[in-house]
């Protein structure tokens, strides 16, 4: 059988997702398929529901209507225990890095490992921490506190904490926000390297055009709570629709 004909199961499958806060709908009939090993960049205006989308995927927000299947499991029907098990296979990088201030870099990385000992059975914590830090090029920062790190270093450490569990799906919330363009590009390239190294699918929420171009195999424009346009970066960039065009000017 030709390897190109092998159809891998979708890492994320969303159909007609509806999410509102009170009477304010944020996501309306949103649909998206992310194949295993695929990087999808999602762009949208501030407040368009990008972050809400990935918080729904990880179960931090509950959905009101629609189907949401992550790594073959329907998220709305999961018990807290099942959700925890699913989260062991999903990495999440927060916009502000969300490193634990009171813990060193080492402790920050060890934290998720302590919670999922079954999954990481047989692997030494020290080895995993060093491997993750080496992947982001910050092994020397192992004993520093988050307050001693620069913005770019925090993003890298957060990335290391995200990949330490060897997730099958990684969700990035504005990975380049608050960074200068050079550091932003470094982080974007790191995301691509990590995708290759770990063969994880990922959804990159961003409003940084360079980040979307570097990281996304597919680009989705989120507008008015819907999947407005989807395609490769060049395909989407070529669309003359004013809503789409406004992202590229």
């Amino acid at each position: 059988m030709n390897s190109e004909q092998v159809q891998l199961p979708a890492a994320v499958s969303i159909r007609n997702l509806y999410k509102a806060f009170g009477t304010n709908p944020v996501l309306r009939s949103f649909s998206l398929e992310v194949a295993a090993g695929e990087n999808v960049a999602v762009m949208g205006k501030s407040g368009s529901g990008k972050s809400v989308l990935i918080k729904c995927i990880i179960g931090l927000e509950t959905i009101d209507e629609g189907d949401l299947v992550v790594l073959g499991k329907s998220v709305p029907g999961l018990s807290p225990r099942e959700l925890d098990l699913l989260r062991a296979d999903v990495g999440f990088q927060f916009q502000g890095s969300a490193l634990y201030d009171s813990m060193t870099v080492r402790e920050n990385l060890e934290f998720p490992l302590r919670r999922h000992q079954e999954k990481m059975k047989g692997l030494r914590t020290d080895d995993l921490v060093q491997e993750a830090l080496s992947s982001v090029g910050l092994l020397h920062a192992i004993d520093l506190l988050p307050s001693e790190l620069s913005g770019g270093m925090k993003k890298r450490i957060a990335l290391a904490r995200t990949i330490i569990m060897r997730p099958k799906l990684i969700l990035y919330d504005e990975p380049t926000s608050g960074l200068d363009p050079i550091t932003g590009r470094e982080i974007s390239r790191l995301i691509v390297d990590i995708q290759k190294q770990y063969r994880a699918a990922s959804i990159v929420i961003t409003h940084d055009l360079a980040c979307a171009r570097i990281t996304g195999n597919q680009l989705v424009i989120l507008s008015e709570g819907r999947n407005y346009v989807q395609g490769t970066f060049d395909e989407v960039a070529g669309i003359t629709d004013p809503v789409v065009h406004s992202f590229f000017t």
Binding site: L60, D84, R87, F94, D101, F111, P112, R115, M165
Partner: protein, 254 residues
């Protein structure tokens, strides 16, 4: 006026729910012993100097203020008993709890609020940790354990301060002073004081955690949270003390 009442009852209901959740979850694993020990160390260690200094000053001031009156009535020999009972039953627990409401309660509130603003609580949840167990249960339990311990320490230091004044002004030896204190104090003075300190600790911990855990309005909310945690916890200390005195009084009359 209706809005104020409505908010009061709403907040009271939410704090009650939060408290009920604590008592529901505290018994079941996973138990975060390492974090609990860390919090006990922080709460105890960070408050030690402040509580000790305040207790020492309170002992000195109380003795200096009451001494002339007792001398006037020829009741100078009652000084150790009076100071001992006042400090152990009332002044020690209340002053220590008020200091801890300011220092520990506001610290917990601000810490959790800032963790919420910077999405650290969400990060904990996605890494498979129950943040309520890791952050709230450990901190509330730590305040319940450490505040009674701080109260006992504060009582002893206050009595030392008082004994020092009596030694300098009245030539009373430390041995005589403390033997007199112990002669008049018994377990019925100490036990209610420890029990109410335990409730003071719970109130300080739960209010700090509730305000921090439910904080909103971004970074502005962090300061507001710390402030509200101190105000509500201090008020609760007085209310609980009032209830404790009423209940203890009933037992004394039996």
């Amino acid at each position: 006026m209706i809005n104020v009442l409505r908010n009061f009852f709403l907040t009271t209901g939410q704090i009650s729910q939060f408290t009920a959740r604590y008592w529901r979850e505290v018994w079941f694993p996973p138990y975060e012993f390492q974090e609990l020990l860390k919090q006990c160390f922080f709460i105890g260690n960070k408050s030690l100097a402040l509580v000790g200094t305040t207790g020492f000053i309170m002992g000195i001031v109380l003795t200096l203020q009451t001494r002339p009156t007792l001398i006037e009535f020829g009741a100078q020999s009652w000084m150790p008993a009076m100071v001992g009972i006042a400090i152990v039953r009332e002044i020690g627990p209340v002053i220590t709890a008020l200091i801890c409401a300011g220092k520990v309660g506001s610290g917990i509130g601000a810490e959790l609020a800032s963790m919420k603003v910077t999405e650290q609580i969400d990060a904990m949840e996605v890494s498979g940790t129950n943040p309520f167990k890791f952050l709230v249960i450990t901190r509330v339990t730590a305040t319940m354990i450490m505040i009674p311990a701080l109260v006992v320490m504060s009582d002893v230091i206050s009595l030392l301060g008082s004994a020092m004044v009596e030694n300098i002004k009245g030539g009373v030896s430390f041995t005589l002073y403390f033997s007199k204190v112990l002669e008049f104090l018994d377990f019925s003075d100490l036990i209610p004081s420890i029990i109410k300190s335990f409730f003071f600790g719970f109130a300080i911990g739960i209010i700090g955690c509730y305000k921090g855990y439910t904080s909103s309005r971004g970074t502005e909310g962090v300061g507001r949270t710390a402030n509200e945690a101190v105000v509500i916890a201090s008020l609760l200390v007085f209310i609980l003390d009032f209830i404790a005195v009423l209940v203890t009084d009933i037992f004394y009359e039996l």
